[in-house]
Symmetry: C2
Subunit: 412 residues, 2 copies
């Protein structure tokens, strides 16, 4: 394939994770090391940084500080939830992007995000091709939700799963401390896919985790749920429930909406919240027990101190692979993972999938991995997640607290 020389820009988009900066580090390091890439830019707040001409020169950062990105949560460059129009209908944003690409001679565009970000990638790739501006576009997956199509799993998911499982183990011990009956409901992220909620089952595997786990892939019936809680309380004195924020009734109404009506975000997603407290309240009313609702909220996606080593390594590898394959000639693809889990041995390799196959599809938990009673996941689910939470992060500290990367962010 032809050699393409020019600058590259890297952007982060969507909700951050504990390891999205590890992909950033992998990509920047590979780009700085590449002979084909003349300049390495980071876009402030994803695609918005390109539209607004706010790019940072990564070559001016201290390499030691860049390396700290491996253990720094959130999106160091800033993120966005900006939705580009369809270039076939509205070219305005794309004309601006092209203008910026020409201004900085940007020949490589790396975008790190979830479904919506792969949609952005695909549109930029399509437009640049049509406009005749040679630019290689690669998507780098990221989402704690693990709902991206075409990849075994997504960077960010393993660390969130580790945080959720660890926290659920700890909560289970704390919540069962008194000798009177109690109910504890933990609300876990995952709008349409139950990968994160299901990961709470890893805690139960060690005998201290949720008794019941509800995923959005199954219709949630409040009556049946309360009957089930009552039975568990009768049997063992207390009940610990993990629910996905996205559980819905048979009409498709979010259970969280039972408690409160709320707005929608830029992508038309309903903003969820307050579900744990609502369900805890329902159990209290039904069973007459003391109850508590706990929302893991942002903690589950920014808890870098509990990040999985495997996840960090793979996130970095995804970033490096995007750059190295683009330099080698690839474009219009997302880096994905191909994994084997034979005989308890786990191996993860990268592969490339076309962006149009990925964008806007959501990968859900297979029905056969959900228990027949709809209140838990199977051993197969646990075997799938377990390798992804292995290993601890480095946890560089200063005065007992994490030492996160501090970038200079010098404008191009």
């Amino acid at each position: 394939m032809s050699q393409l020389t020019g600058a590259c820009v890297f952007g982060q988009s969507g909700g951050p994770t504990s390891v999205i900066n590890a992909s950033f580090y992998g990509a920047v390091k590979a780009a700085l090391d590449s002979e084909s890439i003349t300049k390495v830019y980071g876009a402030a707040h994803g695609i918005q940084g390109i539209l607004n001409d706010v790019l940072y020169d990564m070559g001016q950062e201290d390499p030691k500080e860049l390396r700290r990105l491996l253990n720094t949560p959130s999106s160091a460059l800033g993120s966005c939830r900006y939705k580009l129009a369809d270039p076939d209908k509205d070219e305005k944003d794309f004309q601006r992007i092209l203008e910026i690409f020409k201004k900085y001679d940007i020949r490589y565009f790396f975008y790190n995000g979830g479904n919506d970000s792969m949609d952005t990638c695909e549109k930029v790739s399509r437009y640049m091709r049509r406009a005749g501006w040679e630019c290689r576009v690669m998507g780098i997956p990221k989402t704690i939700d693990n709902d991206l199509f075409g990849t075994d799993h997504c960077p960010g998911f393993g660390s969130a799963a580790k945080y959720i499982a660890t926290s659920c183990m700890e909560i289970a011990l704390d919540a069962a401390v008194y000798d009177y009956p109690t109910a504890t409901v933990v609300e876990i992220m995952g709008r349409h896919a139950g990968w994160l909620a299901g990961s709470a089952a890893l805690a139960s595997r060690f005998g201290s985790g949720p008794d019941l786990i509800y995923l959005p892939e199954q219709v949630f019936d409040l009556e049946a749920f309360l009957t089930r809680c009552e039975a568990v309380i009768r049997e063992k004195g207390n009940v610990f429930v993990a629910v996905s924020e996205g559980i819905q009734d048979k009409e498709g109404t979010f259970i969280s909406e039972y408690a409160s009506k709320s707005g929608t975000d830029a992508f038309g997603h309903t903003q969820l919240g307050g579900l744990a407290v609502y369900l805890a309240d329902q159990i209290k009313k039904c069973c007459g027990v003391k109850s508590r609702g706990i929302e893991l909220s942002l903690l589950q996606r920014c808890g870098a101190h509990l990040a999985s080593r495997t996840d960090i390594d793979e996130a970095m590898m995804a970033g490096m692979t995007a750059v190295n394959t683009a330099v080698a000639g690839e474009t219009g693809k997302m880096v994905a993972f191909d994994c084997s889990r034979r005989d308890g041995t786990y191996a993860c390799r990268t592969k490339l999938v076309p962006l149009q196959d990925v964008a806007n599809y959501e990968k859900k938990v297979p029905q056969e991995w959900i228990l027949p009673d709809g209140a838990g996941v199977t051993k197969e689910f646990v075997s799938y997640v377990l390798p992804l939470i292995q290993g601890d992060c480095e946890r560089e500290t200063k005065d007992g607290l994490p030492r996160f990367a501090k970038l200079k962010k010098i404008k191009a």
Copy 2:
């Protein structure tokens, strides 16, 4: 002092912490090693285990498993919030306790808890003296709230502070990720004392923490708070607030009650909750920004994976000291800490304080450690907390998740 030979019983009471089991381990180890102590019992659910005659024989536990208590959160023996009557008015419970003490020849009573538990200790000690049953009673401090009188600080506080500061650093990065204005409110435990909420300032010290911190020691004025938030948002684009669950208005009404009326627990304490979401909502209405309320809930007191090494060591030392000083002849005391922080060097030694001086007093954050504007803490506060969060715990893991102690709990 006279030698006293007989059995001992150890109990855990009140809300658990990340390190209460480290005190348990310290006490049990010292008791098993002591020649004066013939049997070592653990009471199921604190004083209730004694009333109900449910004692476990600690001598039958695997020493390796006992050692894992150093890194196991929550109260391994179970806890209670049972309030004993005044023995001068109602002897019933005390007669029962004496009966059990006689049955097992219990000559040493060790009780690990907060204010209410020291009250229990003091009453048991008083009654036994009056009844002529020689029994040495020692209190071991424990409370994440750090509000116990007579001690520099309490075991449990340092680990909770470390959890809060670390989580606030992570949340601060995550919450500031978009380029539109946002407000984040984190609700931290601490009913009447703001030690925990103030610890969020350790995060801010590293440039990624709350902008405003509100303690219950200061009257909370909602109007002034909103004006302040608005100013911070105007200045830096977003605001991050940490509040103690116990903040009150000038009439002494909990701000959390503005949102919801709720019940009281056995000690007449109002049950708090929902404050973060309520305040986040108020900021949203006032400033028109996207807002999020996060309650650290049980996570801050059971997050043993982030426990402070210093806190674990000191908690164990408190347990050992209780046993060793009782065997040496002491009774009616609580183990306390005497610390020096000269020239940045921290040293912690144990001392003993009379139970009646401790029980039911609450140590608050001194007014001079709260900033004049009531929205933060001084450098002196930070210097006080910083040594207590130093060092990491061992974090024994199995399959990527914590390996907690599993006791056999063989009934006596």
